[in-house]
């Protein structure tokens, strides 16, 4: 087998595993910022509900402007589903929007579970209850963010190295 082909093969393997490690590292680095963004959106949603009694579709649209990235997309999509005219409940609209946003976000399964739990209560009760549910959700997301910030950089670096080293190990085994 020509040496050039072998080198190309090694490069391909290392790039693939290195890229895999880099993707995971990027997710880990993004997660705290995205958790902060979704908290900002939920705080804006709480303000709209508590002080202005803004109906949920409008409140979600305004909350979307207070955040960026997947948090904004989540609010915007939920508002769109609510306004589709099918009489979807807020829980259904939030759940569908969460599924659609999942691919764009760096939230892990525990974050999605917290957000999903909020969806079941959204819009279905009085102002005081809504505020309580949102505050609870924000509190849990804040704890998750603090935890993620603590270990994010260390874990991201580990996954970067792991990706490259996994590629090297695979090359050695193959050769």
């Amino acid at each position: 087998m020509p040496a050039a082909l072998i080198v190309a093969g090694i490069a391909c393997i290392c790039t693939a595993t290195g890229g895999w490690g880099w993707l995971i590292a990027r997710q880990l680095r993004r997660r705290p910022a995205e958790l902060a963004a979704v908290q900002a959106a939920l705080q804006a949603l709480r303000t709209e509900i508590e002080y202005a009694s803004t109906p949920l579709p409008d409140a979600l649209r305004r909350a979307a402007t207070a955040a960026r990235g997947p948090a904004a997309a989540l609010c915007r999509l939920a508002a769109r589903h609510l306004e589709a005219g099918a009489g979807a409940s807020a829980a259904d609209a939030w759940s569908v929007a969460l599924d659609q946003t999942d691919a764009l976000s760096s939230w892990d399964t525990s974050d999605l579970a917290v957000l999903g739990q909020l969806g079941t209560a959204l819009g279905a009760s009085g102002t005081a209850d809504q505020v309580r549910h949102i505050a609870l959700c924000v509190g849990r997301l804040r704890a998750a963010e603090a935890e993620a910030r603590g270990g994010a950089e260390r874990q991201a670096r580990m996954w970067l190295y792991l990706g490259v080293l996994a590629g090297a190990a695979l090359v050695l085994v193959t050769l």
Partner: protein
């Protein structure tokens, strides 16, 4: 229909045509029935849409959804029972399921129970276009009073229409008033006879003025406690009330009346369903300021009006010069026919004094 055509018809006393569109904030709106269909759940909506032939057939008054019972449309010609193949007998009609009601409630409340807490406690929500959704289910009571509802079993979508010219029979009372203060008028009658519709049209006509009757335009302030007169949505009146009207929405009359007199310097104030605690005091205060009062009251007849202590005290504040009964029955020799049939009454007649005056204050 052009705007100018609508305007001229509004100014005159022409009857209400089937195809005449309602006004929503001065913009021509779609057929009221079509507006209300948007609040019916997606399974039942196409069935109703099939029955709705634009510009023909009887006008729809209500769409009623009752859990486990047939889908019902109340028209001015009677009940329609809606089935998969059109209208028929109640046995042939489609039954409303819990999901139909639940989805309709979600559409009415925009999936936001918290935004309608007070309205749900009272059992109705005002919708864009001035329509109303009546809701009843299992009430939630706290501290001995109803604070909300859940598990809805019935939904009544009431279709609202402005009736331009409905107040025309009252214009003789206001004729050639010029710049002088207007008389105070209380309209009374049983529920559903069109008191609010007439009051709304009276506000519109006074706000615009009627030069043909020697009535100059007036500043009209409206206390819309139940959001029925103007049906404001986000501050925008859903009915045409003329250019010189101001509305305080959802305010109790006892608080809203003095507020409007202080802040808006009105020549006329209008409010619906007087007779609550504190109303008499507020009305007396308004009357002392030289502001004319237009109001409605629930009462079967003049004797009933007299018999209710809260109404009686409100009527003797000096705020009213005329009490005008609105009745479904015909009173021989003493009726002025309204120029339009109002929803919910077939036919409605405005009973008045033989000389064209309203009956004297009881």
């Amino acid at each position: 229909m052009s705007t100018s055509a609508s305007h001229s018809a509004d100014q005159g006393s022409a009857g209400f045509a089937r195809s005449r569109p309602a006004f929503a904030g001065g913009v021509r709106a779609a057929e009221p029935e079509a507006q209300v269909l948007a609040y019916v759940g997606p399974r039942l909506r196409p069935l109703l849409q099939r029955l709705l032939l634009p510009g023909s057939g009887p006008r729809w008054l209500e769409i009623r959804l009752r859990l486990g019972r047939p889908l019902n449309v109340v028209t001015e010609d009677g009940d329609l029972w809606v089935g998969a193949r059109g209208s028929g007998t109640p046995e042939e009609a489609v039954c409303c399921g819990s999901e139909d009601i639940e989805r309709s409630v979600q559409l009415v409340t925009r999936a936001s129970v918290y935004a309608w807490e007070d309205e749900l406690a009272q059992g109705f929500c005002t919708l864009p276009g001035g329509h109303r959704a009546g809701l009843c289910g299992r009430v939630i009571r706290r501290g001995g009073r109803i604070t909300g509802q859940k598990a809805f079993g019935s939904l009544n979508l009431r279709i609202a229409r402005a009736v331009p010219g409905a107040a025309d029979p009252l214009l003789p009372l206001l004729r050639r008033s010029g710049a002088r203060p207007l008389p105070g008028i209380v309209l009374f009658g049983p529920p559903g006879c069109g008191k609010t519709t007439v009051l709304r049209d009276l506000c519109r006509q006074l706000s615009r003025g009627r030069p043909d009757w020697g009535i100059v335009p007036r500043r009209v302030a409206i206390v819309d406690e139940r959001s029925e007169i103007a049906a404001c949505v986000d501050g925008l009146p859903q009915f045409d009330l003329g250019a010189r009207s101001d509305v305080i929405d959802g305010a109790p009359k006892a608080e809203g009346l003095p507020l409007l007199v202080r802040a808006f310097n009105p020549e006329v104030v209008a409010c619906d369903e007087i007779g609550g605690p504190g109303d008499a005091r507020a009305l007396a205060e308004v009357a002392r300021c030289g502001v004319a009062v237009l109001a409605t009251a629930h009462a079967r007849d003049a004797a009933d009006l007299r018999a209710r202590p809260t109404l009686r005290s409100a009527l003797h504040t000096g705020a009213f010069d005329f009490a005008v009964p609105l009745r479904d029955d015909r009173t021989p020799g003493a009726v002025l026919p309204l120029t339009a049939h109002l929803p919910g009454s077939v036919p409605l007649r405005l009973a008045a004094h033989r000389e064209g005056r309203a009956c004297p204050l009881p």
